[in-house]
Symmetry: C2
Subunit: 332 residues, 2 copies
């Protein structure tokens, strides 16, 4: 399938930095239009150069407010920014989280900031193929920095590690036991731990805990040791946030580390690996669904299982044999 003239033009406009073209292409990719694959093929070679920053953490720790300030600093440095806000698809948290996004609206009129909110609606949770595509599209606009913000609740915050070059984990002193709990995983995922709301009670204890965790952990020689940065972001004083300069310095330092050690290539490799996996699964699923669609067979299979005459493992084996076979199998 070739790209239609219309979407071909859109891609050209996208590459020239056009926001409206970006918004339209994102919608097309989310809706999986017919030329979706062709669009992505044209976009891909124009990506891979942005700095990608991940921001994750539990609800209520102040991720959006922090992101807002980081955007401000990046803009001061003359950098263009793209932001992807990933909301969980869960009906339990959906609404409130979207509400948070309003805080980022002060950048809404800034042409240098492109914000897109999307649901993490992977078939089984986690970031969807669409999320990965959207990040590529925003990169192709020529943005210098892409911020991917996810709610630290499940698979999302692990997936964001596969995309982000530098990953911030935002915590608050109030989390107490939770911080103890995350110790084990902390080192693996966060390059920078941001202790936000560091004016709350328990800040000192929390900082000590975090520091002790770092001290106990063993790092390979030359490995990145996660930085801890304390910040105080006051909602009423938008201009002011304590610790922001330290945070920006830590981000710059980690980026420098990545590029000096060619670790950046490993991160880029992982990102593509993740994308490949998701696109594969989409393709395979479609192949099977195409075979089953409209035949009413699925219902019959399920009824047979309910009656105790079959089981899912036998059904899957049968369907695989019917609709899919490997080249290997064909040659025999």
């Amino acid at each position: 399938m070739t790209v239609s003239k219309n979407s071909g033009n859109l891609v050209e406009h996208l590459l020239a930095g056009d926001r409206r073209a970006a918004a339209r292409l994102i919608t097309m990719v989310e809706n999986e239009t017919d030329d979706h694959h062709e669009i992505m093929r044209r976009i891909y070679p124009n990506t891979g150069h942005a700095m990608i920053l991940g921001v994750t953490g539990a609800a209520g720790v102040g991720k959006s407010s922090l992101t807002d300030h980081v955007i401000g600093k990046l803009r001061e440095q003359g950098k263009t920014v793209g932001v992807v806000l990933v909301d969980p698809s869960s009906p339990f948290t959906g609404g409130a989280f979207l509400g948070d996004r309003i805080r980022l609206q002060r950048h809404a009129r800034d042409e240098g900031v492109f914000i897109r909110s999307m649901a993490s609606r992977g078939y089984l949770g986690g970031l969807s193929r669409a999320t990965y595509d959207v990040i590529r599209i925003i990169e192709a606009m020529g943005r210098d920095v892409i911020i991917v913000e996810t709610l630290g609740a499940g698979q999302d915050e692990i997936d964001v590690i596969h995309i982000a070059q530098t990953c911030l984990l935002v915590v608050t002193p109030g989390m107490g036991d939770d911080i103890q709990a995350m110790k084990a995983g902390l080192m693996e995922v966060a390059h920078i731990v941001v202790l936000n709301k560091a004016d709350l009670e328990g800040t000192d204890t929390c900082l000590r805990h975090l520091q002790a965790t770092m001290d106990v952990a063993r790092f390979d020689e030359g490995a990145w040791v996660p930085r801890i940065v304390a910040t105080v972001s006051v909602a009423s004083k938008r201009e002011h946030i304590q610790g922001l300069d330290e945070l920006m310095a830590a981000i710059a330092e980690h980026q420098e580390y990545l590029h000096k050690n060619e670790a950046i290539d490993r991160v880029k490799f992982q990102r593509i690996e993740q994308e490949l996996g998701l696109i594969f699964k989409d393709a395979l699923q479609k192949l099977v669904l195409k075979g089953l669609k409209g035949t009413g067979k699925k219902k019959k299979y399920i009824q047979k299982i309910m009656e105790g005459k079959s089981d899912p493992y036998s059904v899957v084996e049968e369907v695989m044999k019917t609709y899919i076979l490997s080249r290997e199998e064909r040659q025999t």
Copy 2:
């Protein structure tokens, strides 16, 4: 592949209610031993008769404590119980949650209670195929009731709805805005909303909010209208929990509703549908991995993409053509 003599014996012991056989089979299924599919095929026809109760809600709302009391009541009624505690695989929450499980230990010496804790380690989050298998195994032991407890954080609590016949959503008054946020999804997922810790400040407001939500919602004639039950569970007074009888009554009422309206068949249908999907995905993934394994091709593909000479969509198309083809294609 046929089931080995050893696992064949284990299945026989399982069907006789043997706990050790259950534990061993669960481990085998989690580890995907060679005869895993055969084991599940033998187990399947012996399942589908238990009452399945889902318990979900955010961290800290007191799910485990509530589950503990519900188990106690079920045992008083002479029912045998199986419990599956699903912990998120996320490194951020892992530890603390497992700690909660200790509360259920008072049932550890009761032969009538079989408890299994497992990680939700679906490839993309959400409940894994293994979780579904484990529930079937515990059913095959002949347990009257299976309780599936998940942390309401992401896809897990949505998935539990597909398994559970009666689903409890546990909330606390302190959640304030969060409850507002979950309003939209509330009706879809919870059959019974348990307002736990109903001695805390804000209980009345919270109850009013919940009730107002129910009043505003439109239900089809004859449809189940979610019940709201307030409970106060005091950790120090293990024997006593206010509202427990009302909760048990609501559960019984919902079960009666399901069986009277044959809605139970729809729930059982959905469960199998979900299982089929997961087993499919596993099978497809293995097929592709088998094709790529050890050839070093994946690495080469990724490098080509990194160099801007290809893109994931083109790679997937190529691999699909090389390793997999549909019957349709073969016939042409």
